[in-house]
Symmetry: C2
Subunit: 486 residues, 2 copies
Amino acid sequence: MTEVSLHRPFPATAVERWDYETDVAVVGFGAAGACAAIEAADGGAAVMLFERNSGSGGASGLSGGEIYIGGGGGTDAQRAAGFTDTTEDFAAYLKAAGGPCVDDAKCDLYAREALDHYAWLKAQGVPYRGNYLPGKHIEPTDDSTLIWSGSEAAAPFCELAVPAPRGHVIQHSGWGGGRPLVDILERAARARGVEVIVDARAVALVQDGIRIVGLVVRIDNRDRFVRASKGVVLATGGFVMNEAMRRKYCPETFRINSPIGDQDDGTGINLGVGAGGEAIHMEQYFTTCPWTMPEPHANGVFVNVAGQRFINEDCYHGRVSRCALDQPGGKVFLLLDSAHFSQPLDMAGITIAGTGATWDEVESELEMPEGTLSATMAFYNRHATEGNDPLFGKQAPILTPLDRAPFVALELNFQTSYFSFFTLGGLRTSIDGEVLDRSDRPVRGLYAAGRCTSGLPAWGHGYSSGMSLADCTFFGRRAGKKAADG
Amino acid sequence: MTEVSLHRPFPATAVERWDYETDVAVVGFGAAGACAAIEAADGGAAVMLFERNSGSGGASGLSGGEIYIGGGGGTDAQRAAGFTDTTEDFAAYLKAAGGPCVDDAKCDLYAREALDHYAWLKAQGVPYRGNYLPGKHIEPTDDSTLIWSGSEAAAPFCELAVPAPRGHVIQHSGWGGGRPLVDILERAARARGVEVIVDARAVALVQDGIRIVGLVVRIDNRDRFVRASKGVVLATGGFVMNEAMRRKYCPETFRINSPIGDQDDGTGINLGVGAGGEAIHMEQYFTTCPWTMPEPHANGVFVNVAGQRFINEDCYHGRVSRCALDQPGGKVFLLLDSAHFSQPLDMAGITIAGTGATWDEVESELEMPEGTLSATMAFYNRHATEGNDPLFGKQAPILTPLDRAPFVALELNFQTSYFSFFTLGGLRTSIDGEVLDRSDRPVRGLYAAGRCTSGLPAWGHGYSSGMSLADCTFFGRRAGKKAADG
């Protein structure tokens, strides 16, 4: 009997019976899969969607429902708040955020079409209040729309692209807008006749020797064979929940302890690579420790174990956290004065490592050599008072002197603090969601989107909130459309 | 006609005629390929070796011919110099050097068997003078044997394993011992009847549906089919000369400009992955800028563009260089006083960025804010005078106060200085050189060694000189032996 494997396609000739037949089969019912299914249906294809859980959601459903949108002169929310966001600036920011891992073609395309994509999301029923919430927020606690969600206004990004806030959050009170976002997309998919099969885990692709023509799903512990005449769209998420894959491809993540995701075990990546695709930038990951809460903590200054600053703390909390992990010694310190300190969030696992009436005393409590942390803070305060950060370019309004005793050093420990993380590497795809092989040719009949691909959020140091859902929804749509077009 | 491709095996059923028949075919005539051929022949196999150049060498032939050896109480050279090197310390160092990418099983095995391997190398005719050359050297300029070639004596490595010098250099006057090393291995291979075919480039593997049974080589622009009944050993080097692969897998290397290698275009990696193997740690690379020459420069202090130190400068020059690349701003500075400065090597592309009668003047010439570099040097000198480096743990004898005016800052610029580099990622293999698939099963009939694999030198920040040739020669032997045993 032919083996069913994630790692190599099952031969179509060995399929005894097709349990299901459709045009396009979508695997995974997060935002990427939902958008792929919608577009494939709108493209005239019969669509079946297979989800291993008992309902939609995936990692998208656990997210804040924030989508990174801009360009074209700005969205309604951007323009109402006075931000003119050109396509060029938007593209430039996306590329800077992609760093060495950037896919220029994806950035350029998305920058050009993001406004249309925003209109499409609204047309599916995604509500946006349309207002702007100033300040730095991980997610709005009310139902606001537009927030600063990246490093746009911070060095060096602000020198590469005119800054604008681009995080667009679904109208939803409080955190967790990802769940209603997926619900709306699910309704849109079902309204188009997409047939959803839940509790169905993809275990193999089926190939007829030339192209992918279906897949094998395990339902009630039995293998069922799905014929998909136009192809398969993989939308199964990353591999943060697969320790063996992380060990091989992203071992740096073992320095931290809080993977976030749903069933992100790399299924789609394995299926795609097994069919001839290739996985790229597999070492990249997003991480953040929620150090900006309570909000006054955003005014803090970070130092490493040598008492040195290493980042302009006004950039995105995830970029600060990722750069913190580049520091030696297994931990960094967030320095605060009495004007800005409050008790850290319990869940953050951030502890008080030292206090003092002067920075010298804090330095001494941390057992740092004399003239390290204290010198760093004397230098920082002197320049901050004048509105400058000559070393890292941190800017107002959080370029605040920390000079109100007593002082405190909070410890962000890589092993014991809450550094949440998920993986960014995945299948290499065209701008149409085609899975590409190592010769740059599409694997026929195979498409992918979301975190089982490497997309807009390609580089851990450049990630900004909303980039992954932007990538999932926009390139999910492209993949579904391309699959339907054949 | 069936396509000949690096990316998928050619079906044996489509082979019209075998142009060559052998038991074991080895691809690539550097140190790894030579050692594989020798052991396969000693294992009783008929062996053919295919090399795309007109003669042996590969990247090994361009190297210093230095092999990282220790453990078991020490080699003759280590013991004569008073170093007792336990297997445990040797293994601990190898593991620390592998960092997050470490392959524990390879480290443990090599640590246990390195003395036997050293004896084997001598038995092949590799000469060692047997003496110890103190000091820090990139390669001996005379024919000395034993040098410090890594970060053994430097923090944090010295705390993880009792330090010992382990770089063993072939007896050869001056640099470039890799060429005579390969010559000796070539003679040993030819003496065993290994048939060498040069100007023959591997373009595909041949698979019979179950196992790799041969390969296709291009000779005089014609495809020739090689039957290898016991299997194929890939020993073709890394991918530093393949810009498209670097862009996809190791894009950080585009920040620097001087790839070193021979024909290292990823051929073996592509062949192996195409046959079902997997490539790991592809983002890892070795780099170094020859900043320790002239030798007094080893006493210098590095700062980044913020005027901060970032490393104990007494660790391996390549580790310092790799950590330099982690610093922001595109360059770092090597600070020297008049007691230690001489003109940098022309080839290094290291320039004088600033000078001064005081460190304050140097700071000012570099347009760094007042109280940055000057404070760093005041702190460093104060502690160095007392024999301490409380921040990074740099140790004597190069923990030298830099207090003899005038002072100079040399610029190591990532784009314009000579940062040589090569890739470390490659096929995942067992300790016997079997290419492993993504299910941890050997790809039958396929073996690999050297830099087309991820091996002992797995992590750029931990590389030490001699680790790659240790890996090539030792695991090359294992691969050849395993192939012959079938």
